[in-house]
Every structure is written in C-alpha cells, then in structure tokens.
C-alpha cells in the first residue's frame, strides 16, 4: 500500500514535469492578415505622384482604421498601382508580391460612387485574363464620392461576371475628391 502510493506520486510528478517542460512558445501558425491597402497614383504627364493609405494595423476591432481621402486633379489620366501589406508584423509583410505571383487566382474590383472617375485595366494575369492590380484612371470634372477597392481570391474568371465570384481577401472604402 505504502509503495503503491509512493509509485503513484512519482508517476504523477514525472508527468507534471513533462507537461511543463513540453510547453514553450513557438510561432507555428501563420495568420494571413491584410492590415493596409495603399493606392499609388502617378499622372501620365508626371504632374502628380501620391500614395493614399487605408490602415488598420491592430487588426479587426480595437482601434478604428485610419483612412486617407484620395484627392485627384480634374481631367487627368493617372496610373494606379495597388499595394497590400500586413503591418501588424515587424518587419511588415508585402502581400502584393504574393498576389502578383498568383495573379491567376486573384482579381481586383473597383466600384466608384459619386465621383467623375472611370477605371480601366492596365494589366492581365498569367493567363491573359483580368487582374487589375494596375489600372488607368481617368478623372472628369470636380466632384466627390467614394471608391471601393476589393481583392478577390480564387474567382471564376470565366464566369459571366467574374467580379462577384471567389471570396473577399480585402475590401476597403476610400473617400474620393476630384478638384
């Protein structure tokens, strides 16, 4: 009886020790988070070069995102390149590279409301289909409105309207002012 109690105690202690020993923090997970969307705009005539940022680096919830207003000159043709980052990490992770590497599995969608702005594709994916990471913007007369930029993952680019297929990886709204 005595020896059994002792044995039991030793066994329990060993397992406890093993348990604590086994526990150490390691980063075996990899969250894919897009905290930041940057719209890089350059006018074809060189008169304009600006970046506008949508940023929520503490992730979902917590502090509200900071959103810059896109201010554009009227009646210009502007080249646009969109960038995606995870700035919750240090150093920041540039997700744009991954999106470009898998261009066939991604699609950017732009929706303008209010402002006199038209957006046309300036690139294609690795299969020659729509991608729209790079676009050409044409501004009209002075106006205000908003722009929704969406990054879609695994869309069906052969569908009648590929813009609503797949699932959203990022979707942000910028206020837009044309002056």
């Amino acid at each position: 009886m005595q020896t059994n109690t002792v044995k039991f105690g030793v066994l329990a202690a060993l397992l406890l020790a093993f348990t604590f020993g086994a526990c150490k923090k390691d980063d075996d997970t990899e969250q894919e988070l897009i905290t930041t969307v940057v719209v890089h705009l350059t006018a074809t005539d060189g008169s304009f070069d600006q970046e506008y940022t949508w940023d929520d680096r503490d992730g979902d919830g917590g502090n509200a995102p900071t959103i810059e207003e896109i201010a554009l000159p009227a009646n210009k043709t502007i080249n646009c390149h969109v960038h995606f980052y995870d700035r919750s990490k240090t150093p920041e992770e540039d997700i744009t590279e991954e999106v470009e590497a898998e261009s066939a599995e991604h699609l950017l969608v732009y929706a303008v409301t209010g402002a006199n702005l038209t957006i046309a594709a300036a690139d294609t994916d690795s299969n020659g289909k729509a991608f729209r990471l790079k676009t050409t913007w044409t501004t009209g007369a002075a106006s205000t409105g908003s722009l929704k930029v969406s990054l879609r993952h695994e869309p069906n680019k052969d569908a009648a309207n590929p813009d609503v297929t797949g699932e959203v990886d990022a979707e942000v709204d910028f206020p837009v002012k044309i002056q």
Binding site: T19, D28, E30, L33, D60, E167
Partner: protein
C-alpha cells in the same frame, strides 16, 4: 438497479474475519435479488447455491440474499432456483463486493461473467443510454450520430462531419463528456470543435440530463455524456472483435478492432483497440459537397491488474482526425456571406467526388494517459485515486495564398495540456446509505498560436465533493443528496498577438443536487431531481476579439462576466412492464447570468469590409421542455416506438436591468423533433434451428423503420439572423441487424447490420447546422457493417 437488502449474517461473518487474511482475500460478499424476468416481481425464498462449496443462502421475502465470505479470483457457479421458475446459473469471479440480480426466466440458461462493479449508484437524475445494436449502428459515424436518437439530445453541426451533442438545449462548455472515467478537456468552447471521442471505445453511452455538476464537475452544468468501455477480460486467454463498415455517401470505410488478453496465471488483463476511418466528399441530393472528406486514426490501450487489495488500471488513448471543411462555407466578408445565402446551390463548390482533404480543414489530436488505483479498505470501504493527463492539439488550416509564407502552416493552433488528480473514498451501504466523498485537483495550460481568437491561459482548480444515496428495498423511496465546492483560477496572458491581455480571474462556488426516487408501483417509478450547478465564464467569453468567419460576425468578450448559475429541476416518470417502456421527463432550467452573444446594432470596420458586432453579455434565462420516449409491443414481435424532444428557452431580462415584457428567445435552440416508427423483432420467427441462421442467444434480430420529423423553428431571436430558419422536414430511415453464432461451441458471434438514412433522398436543412446557409444536408446513405466477436 435496486440494492439487495443488506443483511450481514452476523455470526458467520465474525467467524470468518477472525481468520487472518491470506494472500487471497476471502471476505467478499455477493449480494443480490432474485427477480422474475417477465413480471419483475421479487422471488421470495428463492434458493441460492454456490455449486461445489456447500455454501448458499435463502432469499428473504423480497428476493434479496447475501452470501458472505467468498474468495477473490475464484470461479464460482451460482445457481438460483425457485419453485415457480427455471433455475438460473451464472459463473462469476469476484473482484469486489458485488451486487448481482438474477432474472429467472422460463426457458433460458444464461452464462454471464461478472466482473467488478462500481460502488457509486446510478444517478437519481434523468438519464438515457444507448448500447447494443443502436450504438453499433452509429459507431462508424461519430459521437453525435450515436446520440441523436435519444430523447432530449440534439446535435449542433458545422457541416455533416462536425457534430456536437446538445442536451436539453445546451451544449459546448455547458456539458461534460466523460470517457474512460476522465472528463474530456479540449477546445470545447468552439461550436465548430467536435468532441475528440472514438465511439468504438464505448460499450455504453449514457446521457445524464440536467445539472450534473456534483458528479461530473463544473463542466456538467447542463448534463454529461458518459462513455463506458467494456470491462476487461476475466477468464484466461484471448478474445476480441473486428468490425468493418462501409457507407455509400462519402464512400466511407471504417475498420475497428480490439484484442483482449488475460495473461494466464496472473491477474493482468490487457486490451488494445484501434479505429481507422476514411471518407470522401459527401453528396447532397443535387450535388457533391466539395472538401467534406475526413480521416481518422485512433488507438487505445488498457490494462488492469491486482496486487493484494489494490486494483490498478492504466489506460492510454490517442485520437487523431483530419476533417475537411466545405469549401463553399469559406467566406471573406458579409457580401460573400449574403451571396452564399442567396444562392440556391453552394458557391465555389467542386461538384465532384474526391477523397482529397484540402484547405480549409481541421487537424486534431487528443492524447490521454490515465492511471487509476483503488484499494479495498474493508468490506464497506474503498479508496480510489486517479491521475489523468491529457494533451489536445488542434490546428485549423485556412485557404491561403500558396506562394506566401503561410503555405504549409496552420492559421490557428490551440494546444491544451491538462493534469487532473482525483481521490475518492467510497462505501457500500451503511445504514442503507451508500456513496462517497472525494477531492479533485486540475491544472491546465492553453497555448494559442499567434493571432488566435483567444489568449493563452493557465488554470488551476480544486474541488471537494460528497454524494450519498439512501435506498432500502422494498421501501418505495430512494434519496440522493450531493454537495460540491469548486474553485477555478485562470490567468490569461498574451504576448505577440494582436489581442493583448494579462488578467487573473478566479471563481468559486458551491453546487448541490438532491433527488428522490419513488417506486409508485413495481412497474412505475417517479424521479424528482433538483440541482444547482455553475460554470465560470470561459476565456473566449471573457477575452475573445475578432471576426468569427463562417458566422460573418465580429465577436468581443467582456472581462467582467460573472459565472453562470443553473437551477435545474426535472421530473421523470418511467413505466416498464414486460417489453413496454414509457418515459416522460419534464424539466425547467433557470440559468442566472446566462452568457450569450448580444448583437450591437453596430458594425466594426475591418480590411475585409464591415462586420456586425456581437458582444458577450449576460442575463437570466430559462429553458424548459419535455422529453418523451415510448416502446410498446403491438403484435407478432412488432413494437411501436416513439420519441419527442421539445425545448423552449428565453431571456428574462436584459443585463441593463430593464425587464422585458416579451420573451427574447435564445439563439440556436433545437427545433421540436419527433421520431416514430416500428421495430420488428424476428427472434421468435428465427427460433427454428433447422433454418441454420438462428439468432445467437441473448441477441436480437430486428428490422426498424423510423421517421424523424423536425418542425420549423419559429422561436428565434429577432436580430442577428441572416437567413430564415429552414422548413420542417420528415426523413425515413431503415435499420436491420442479425447475429450469427459461429464455431463448434457457438461462442463466436458475427453481428451484421444494415442502415439506410434519408431513404427518400429528401432535400432538407437543419436549423442547428451552421452550414445551412450554404448547402443542403447529405442525401441517402446506405451503410453495411459486420462485427466478428471472438
């Protein structure tokens, strides 16, 4: 089970204890009752003989007898005879003081091997069990499938492959799952986290309904699911079983087997058991469900032996599972979710069969090691101790960009280590009271991968309990009282994650239970139980912060939540006569400070668009309902069967203090559900031995046709529901089973069975399935199984 009348045959008992104890313990008592198997009437003055020893006893007027001073480990042949009945013989080997009832039949000579029997009496509380053919038919699927036939139990699904049991409307953290005498410790807070249980390890699964905190700890606020393994082998030699099953839907195959070995000349008995499962994409009536395959591989080992008055048991189990998550259920934001809901067929769905399990999927391992030692102090008292270690490792793989750094890593990982130590002092009836006292200590560490929804935490806890039962045959009343105190301290910390927390919370509370059983009549029993149980708020309810994908909601915990307190009362009436069985349970469960997700009428802006915000809140709530079950013989071996489960749940007041005049229905309450059908038992038809496929003794040959009707859930919270509850539906299923006796001495059994689920290939959606937003439930599923017992 009714206790035999405890009567020590004083003089003899004293005489025997005077003899010094040899290595073999010779003061075990066999108690029991002789009962007419058909009428359940006690058989007064039945003669009990231990063949070849000259020992025996005559039962009293109530059929109760005691034979003291039997030796441990010796094989005895016990014969009970009575003038009105055929005698019954059982071959027994005692390892404990044992209670054994003899049911005297008219034409049956049974040989049953009895082994150790737990001292603790069955709960004086509403409980239902599944065993035998009903369990065998569902073992190949999952735990949920094995339980969903029981009245008062429903299933919360995340797709067809992830099933969580719901007892009387409550689930997850509010119920305990006890397998192999150990409470399962996993990530039970998540509605999409299925319990890590292999149903093949159980011989019987019992669902204890209502507050069962005293018996099973703080996890069992609304009930417990108890899985009991088959006892270890007693006679020397080797035995076991091999089971194979196949299912048409998902083209699934299941293989399971167990081998038992009693080492000759020792007290050592060993069992090894294993289960392997593989299934592919399931098929709804109109389409395949892309990425719904699953793979499972489980092992367990169990060994028991004795040294002197010690009984030891060591167990180890390993459960591992990979479950594909329906690709169509993976959404990015609310617009995606709305599109998925509006579409009549699942979007982004690969409508082909495949065994591949791609992202998104879950990979889960659960390890358990357990050592139990009990010591027989005296004829009345027993001490037991148990140490259990559990490690739960859950990884969730999301759809990611393959070129990224996340290519082969999970997006979420949870690792939970649990140590639990149990000590108990239990006793056989003393002045008709039996029960025990005990203490428990628990230590936990939860490690959440970076970016998880919840922080890391460590938990320390302790409990003290007392549970006593009074019963005295033939006194019609039985009483049970229990009291328990639990303390839990949790330290939640996070480093490196976005959700920064460093808080220590601690909770402690009493829980109690009181039950009365009244045997109104020899066939009719009433059980009234009332219990008070509690549950500390879980870390996810305190500190969660993030978007709940699939639900399309942003969820935030509240660090100042109070524990939930449940006051549960249930009344059960049970009528049993011959093959007629009627059970009715009415219950009311008042839960103070019930924790729920409260919609905020506000949106949280994220980089994937806006999500509706849900904050954890608490308010008093009430759940009440009825569970009913009936099995009534009609004619020619045909019995009508029916079961019904009805539950209503609502909040009494909002936590701001304002009282509502209308009822705020609780979310995710099971729909009213009815099951009805016929079971045809063919044993008598097959009795004629010349047909060559006679049913093995004690087994059933049956065909069962069963319909399940689930009504439309109209009682849903006003806000926060994106899609109406699905329409009512009725499904038909068919089951059949037969057992062959094999071998020269007919000792081997071959149990074969057939099941057909959803016979009409009906299109339907379940309210309690999160994937009802995306797809129909699976269509017809034909299953065949064979189990060879040797």
């Amino acid at each position: 089970m009714t206790a035999g009348k405890v009567r020590l045959l004083g003089a003899c008992w004293l005489a025997c204890t005077a003899i010094s104890l040899s290595a073999q313990d010779c003061h075990l008592a066999l108690r029991g009752r002789a009962v007419d198997a058909d009428t359940r009437e006690p058989l007064a003055f039945a003669t009990v003989t231990v063949v070849g020893t000259g020992r025996g006893a005559v039962a009293d007027a109530n059929g109760a007898f005691v034979i003291p001073d039997l030796c441990e480990g010796t094989t005895y042949t016990v014969t009970v005879s009575h003038v009105e009945c055929e005698h019954e013989t059982k071959i027994i080997q005692l390892t404990e003081n044992t209670e054994l009832n003899f049911f005297l039949h008219h034409h049956l000579l049974d040989e049953v091997l009895v082994i150790e029997k737990a001292v603790a009496p069955t709960p004086a509380q509403s409980a239902v069990s599944t065993t035998g053919s009903a369990l065998a038919a569902a073992q190949g699927v999952n735990l949920g499938e094995a339980l969903k036939r029981l009245p008062g139990v429903s299933i919360l699904n995340t797709g067809a492959t992830i099933a969580k049991p719901v007892i009387q409307g409550l689930h997850s953290n509010r119920i305990a799952i006890v397998a192999n005498n150990v409470a399962l410790e996993g990530q039970q807070w998540g509605a999409e986290h299925a319990p890590e249980i292999d149903p093949f390890t159980a011989q019987r699964i019992t669902v204890v309904k209502g507050a069962a905190g005293v018996r099973y700890g703080v996890g069992a606020m609304a009930g417990a699911i108890v899985l009991e393994p088959a006892p270890l082998r007693e006679p020397d030699g080797i035995g076991g079983w091999i089971s194979l099953a196949g299912y048409s839907n998902g083209r699934a195959g299941v293989a399971a087997g167990a081998m038992d070995w009693k080492v000759p000349g020792t007290t050592l008995a060993i069992r090894v058991q294993g289960t392997a499962k593989r299934s592919g994409n399931l098929h709804a009536p109109d389409y395949f469900l892309g990425n719904t395959g699953a793979a499972e591989l489980n092992f367990s080992a169990l060994a028991g032996w004795k040294t002197g008055r010690w009984t030891h048991e060591v167990a180890a189990t390993r459960f591992s599972q990979r479950i594909g998550i329906l690709r169509a259920a993976h959404i990015g934001n609310l617009t995606d979710l709305q599109q998925a809901i509006d579409s009549p067929v699942p979007l982004n769905n690969k409508d082909t069969f495949s065994y591949n399990i791609d992202r998104p999927y879950q990979q889960v391992q659960h390890h358990l090691a357990r050592y139990r030692a009990s010591f027989r102090i005296s004829e009345k008292w027993k001490f037991s101790s148990q140490y259990a270690f559990q490690f739960n490792n859950r990884q969730e793989y999301d759809v990611v960009r393959q070129s990224g750094s996340a290519a082969d890593k999970p997006q979420l990982s949870f690792r939970l280590w649990t140590n639990a130590l149990d000590l108990a002092l239990e006793h056989f009836p003393i002045r008709h009271w039996e029960g025990g006292i005990g203490v428990q200590g628990i230590q936990q560490l939860n490690d959440v991968g970076k970016g998880g929804l919840i922080p890391d935490y460590t938990t320390l806890g302790g409990s003290v309990w007392l549970l006593e039962r009074w019963r005295r045959f033939p006194h019609p009343w039985e009483y049970e009282v229990g009291l328990r105190y639990d303390y839990r301290q949790t330290n939640a910390t996070t480093s490196g994650s976005l959700n920064t927390v460093d808080t220590l919370v601690h909770f402690g509370s009493l829980s109690g239970t009181a039950g009365i059983i009244y045997h109104i009549h020899k066939n009719l029993t009433a059980t009234l139980n009332t219990g008070y149980a509690w549950r500390p708020p879980h870390v996810n309810e305190l500190f969660a912060r993030g978007v709940h994908h699939g639900a399309g909601t942003y969820e935030e915990g509240r660090p100042d939540l109070l524990p939930e307190k449940a006051w549960n009362s249930n009344l059960t009436l049970q009528y049993q006569r011959n093959h007629t069985n009627l059970t009715l349970t009415a219950y009311r469960n008042q839960i103070n400070d019930f924790i729920y997700l409260d919609p905020q009428r506000a949106f949280v802006l994220t980089s994937r668009g806006a999500f509706p915000a849900y904050f954890y809140a608490q308010a008093d709530a009430v759940l009440h309902g009825l569970d009913a079950g009936a099995s009534v013989p009609v004619a020619w071996g045909i019995a009508a069967e029916g079961r019904a489960s009805i539950v209503r749940g609502y909040r009494l007041a909002r936590d701001s203090g304002e009282t509502t005049t209308h009822r705020d229905w609780l979310p995710l309450l099971p729909t009213d559900r009815l099951q009805y059908g016929l079971k045809w038992t063919l044993n008598r038809v097959l009795r004629a031995p010349d047909r060559g496929w006679e049913t093995a003794d004690g087994q059933e040959t049956f065909v069962r046709l069963l319909a399940t009707t689930a009504l439309h859930q109209t009682r849903i919270p006003e806000s926060g529901l994106l899609k109406d509850a699905p329409a009512a539906f009725t499904l038909w299923s068919l089951e059949a089973g037969h057992t062959f006796a094999l071998g020269k001495d007919k000792k081997q059994l071959l149990d074969v069975g057939l099941t057909i689920q959803n016979i009409g290939n009906t299109r339907y959606r379940e309210y309690l399935n999160f994937f009802r937003f995306f797809t129909d439930e699976p269509g017809t599923n034909l299953g065949v199984r064979a189990k060879w017992i040797f």
